[in-house]
Amino acid sequence: MIHPVAWWAWGVGLATAAAHTTNPLLLVLVVLVAGWAVLERREVGALDAFRPFLFIGLAAVALRVTMAVILGNGVGGSVVIVDLPRLPLPSWLAGLRVGGPVTLESVLAAAVDGMRLAATLACIGAANALASPKRLLRYAPATLYDIGTAIVVALTFAPQLVELAGRVRVARRLRGHTGRGPRELARLVVPVLAGTLERSLELAASMESRGYGRLPVRTGRARWLGSILALVGTAGTCAGLYGLLSPSVGGWLGLPTLVAGVALAAASLVLGARREVRTAYRRDPWRAPEWALALAGAAAAGVFVVGDGSGWAGMALQSTPLAWPELPLLAAAALAVCLSVIALTPVPPRLAAARARTASAA
């Protein structure tokens, strides 16, 4: 099994890359690379998170284009596709317009902006499908254990809630209702929540009787210090990541904040880990393929961030005047590296077995 942290490093690296370009060719390539990895390396029976994330992304594209058509997005342009009737607005809404001419440039800019979000989401979805977040959480350090457990329980119960909702809907139909429409939906809420709550209690009872939370008593000062370090560190890390991922915020917030945040968070983790009583079962080893995945992700992110920062030709879609985007070679090469490292990872065992069965049957 590939270390889950490696898949997530690879996925987040690709996502960072996608966030730093508006070249549709590059964005399509990013989605193709992520999709190929899911196709080739997703274990049979693993959650298929790629598809729903991709759908959400496509919905975002559609939404942005619709908004641009109706409200405009500040991108001018000369190629008018259609001139919508303009809605007269009172003078105090001067900044807003509804309707009016729709230019090809503004629609394209909106579409590409949406695509950037879609590609980023697709990469996160791919990481989700390739390494379940539950496996990732096993590597969460002791200080984050409680938060981690809360996330695990949430992750377990979201699908169960959906499943239970399906069964309750079937039961509604067994009582002669259609099970559709808002009133019916309201009727489902109580039984579904009650059922899920009951299951959560059962899970909690099971965790309690299996020794969850047998942490030793910590002294007050150490706990305070740990908590403050963790809070400040996490805030710093988030701010830094935000600065890095969204180029509009500007450079000063990015890297230095991230480094400081990570350092603080690490200190709190070390402090917490010293009091750790839990032990770990069969950690996945970190070997060459893991290094390759993590480095490829980092390389892609690096190339795109630098390229975006220093304005390489082709990193951004040129919309006024409109021009066919060229493909920046270095960026394309980074994506090719991301694609080729997939070949270094082993095919998950049950996927391999399923393929062998299909091959022998054919």
């Binding site: 079937v170 209702h177 039984p191 899970l203 099971s206 009787s209 020794g211 939370g213 032990t279 065992p349």
Partner: protein, 566 residues
């Protein structure tokens, strides 16, 4: 190992204590069975052992519970985790992780077991419960029996000396249940663990027990010898009923013991005409329109007679070439079945053989790949829900799914409104099925039997001619089951078609006219109940095993044959 001293438990808002004055002592290495009707306090007793009562449940506990020398008043369940392993009723809802190995390691990680020791103990647990070949499978993909064994492995890997289980075999088919019980037997006999479990299906477990605790209305007996306990126990398996009927002393608890005692009775019965001419299971039908179809044809069972009970009854529901896929798996393959009016059919087979899928397809809830389903000449999938309810009704495995209101009375009224029938129809049906039920009681506070009765009453209020019941006896005690049997017979006598999906061979022996056995989505056997189950090693009820090769299925059969007709 476990000491209860005058333990009483009272929950807030309850008039009666859930447990009163329990004093008992369990020695190391014993397998103790807790026996009692539903709602008698069995679960409370079990949860006292590892401190879930009162630490987790709330309520007031008086007296003292000592487990391995630790007082549960000062030790929380998590502090007892290295001493007591607790397996909850539905293993799936107790799983914390995704895969078998991770689940087994989870408890040890929490206890801080050294990684090397942990590695060894995971392997041991996999071997002891026979799970080595599914070690890296996702938990959701396992069968019910495997899930139950994973739950046990996950608990014993942490190295407790005491194992507490709440109904470990209720949801399992007979063979999977045997696997789980064999594993428990090994834990007690090879490793000297102390096991305390509650179970309704006594016929499966009573002969494994070293001693029995009887619980009734919160009153707890001391540890009793199983044979002595069974003399007075209000709930008891068929083998005990038979022993009581024939005045055997001491009472046999296993089929083996009973078979040895029964040689004389068998000789006596062999001299009588074979059972079935006056078959209790078919008498309701034969009384209605007798044509000899209820009697057992002599001759070997044909594997595919089309609807054995149909000779006399009109065909009410049918499937032709029915193929259903669920995700990647083909759940049903080319199933041809017909169901006649007044006929009770039991659908049996392993966990995951396609029983529930068949019922869901009959009620028109699943998309079909191929084939047709007709109920009263119509396709249920194409009907409006209201019209469909008038034709076919399903009581799901978890009857709670059908219940939404906050009181039984309101539930009945809303069902009347749902189906547009006269006010009071559902309430009247409920009273007929379950006797008086307090209408102000919340449905979730009813006993399992009453909840099932309520769900059944709602489905009947819709006017369904065809009644489908998915695992109706899960969690029912013997009294509730006996009542269910009566109700089903009455419904069949009125001309309803009843289809049961069940693992409960004793229920099938009591009530079914016909048995359909599914395996991997295909019909492997379809024939009269007596023929199909009497000779089957997996599906034979206890009396059939004792009387083999004479095809008697139930204690009633034997009783009727031995008492001269008056």
């Amino acid at each position: 190992m476990i000491d209860f001293q005058d333990v009483s438990v009272a929950y807030a808002g309850e008039s009666r204590p859930a447990l009163s004055g329990a004093t008992l002592h369990v020695d190391e290495g014993e397998l103790v069975l807790v026996v009692g009707p539903t709602g008698s306090g069995k679960s409370t007793l079990l949860r006292c052992i590892n401190g879930l009562v009162p630490h987790f449940s709330g309520g007031l506990l008086t007296g003292q519970v000592l487990v391995g020398g630790r007082d549960t008043r000062t030790h929380r369940p998590r502090d007892l985790a290295d001493l007591v392993g607790f397996v909850v009723q539905d293993p799936m809802s107790g799983f914390v992780t995704d895969t078998v190995e991770d689940e087994i390691a989870y408890g040890m990680e929490a206890l801080g077991v050294d990684p090397l020791a942990m590695r060894r103990r995971v392997e041991d647990a996999l071997d002891v419960l026979g799970l080595a070949d599914v070690r890296d499978r996702p938990l959701r993909s396992l069968s019910g029996g495997q899930q139950q064994r994973v739950a046990i492995a996950a608990v014993i890997a942490a190295g407790p000396r005491i194992l507490v289980l709440d109904e470990p075999t209720s949801a399992l088919d007979p063979v999977a249940a045997e696997d789980v019980l064999a594993a428990l037997h090994r834990l007690v006999h090879d490793l000297g663990m102390t096991v305390v479990m509650a179970e309704h299906r006594l016929e499966r477990v009573v002969h494994h027990a070293d001693s029995i605790i009887l619980v009734e209305d919160g009153r707890v007996s001391a540890l009793l010898d199983p044979a002595e306990a069974m003399v007075t126990s209000p709930v008891h398996p068929p083998v005990v009923s038979l022993g009581r009927l024939l005045h055997w002393q001491p009472l046999p608890l296993s089929v083996r013991e009973a078979r040895r005692r029964a040689s004389q009775v068998r000789a006596q019965l062999a001299a009588l005409p074979p059972p079935g001419f006056d078959d209790p299971a078919t008498s309701a039908r034969s009384a209605k329109r007798h044509s000899g179809s209820g009697s057992v044809p002599s001759g070997p069972s044909d594997s595919r007679p089309s609807g054995t009970g149909l000779a006399s009854g009109e065909c009410v529901a049918a499937t032709t070439g029915l193929t259903v896929r669920r995700g990647q798996v083909t759940a049903l393959t080319a199933v041809d079945l017909t169901f006649g009016s007044g006929e009770i059919t039991a659908v049996m087979g392993r966990n995951g053989a396609g029983k529930s899928t068949l019922l869901a397809a009959l009620v028109g809830e699943l998309p079909r790949q191929r084939g047709r389903v007709t109920v009263l000449g119509l396709d249920p999938a194409g009907l409006e829900p209201q019209a469909r309810c008038a034709a076919v009704g399903l009581v799901p495995q978890d009857p709670d799914l059908l219940l939404y209101a906050d009181s039984t009375g309101a539930e009945c009224r809303s069902a009347d409104a749902d189906f547009g029938c006269d006010p009071g129809t559902t309430a009247a049906l409920l009273t007929r099925i379950a006797g008086p039920v307090p209408p102000e009681r919340h449905p979730r506070d009813l006993s399992e039997g009453q909840r099932l009765a309520l769900a059944l009453a709602i489905v009947l209020a819709g006017g369904a001619r065809v009644l489908l019941l998915d695992e109706p006896t899960r969690g029912l005690d013997y009294q509730a089951k006996a009542r269910l049997v009566e109700v089903l017979r009455e419904l069949a006598a009125e001309g309803h078609t009843v289809v049961l999906a069940t693992h409960d061979v004793e229920l099938v022996a009591e009530v079914a006219h016909r048995v359909v056995v599914l395996a991997d989505g295909e019909v492997v056997t379809d024939g009269p109940a007596r023929q199909v189950i009497a000779g089957s090693p997996a599906f034979a009820p206890q009396v059939a095993k004792i009387m083999h090769p004479i095809p008697y299925l139930t204690v009633d059969d034997v009783c009727r044959a031995l008492t001269p007709a008056s």
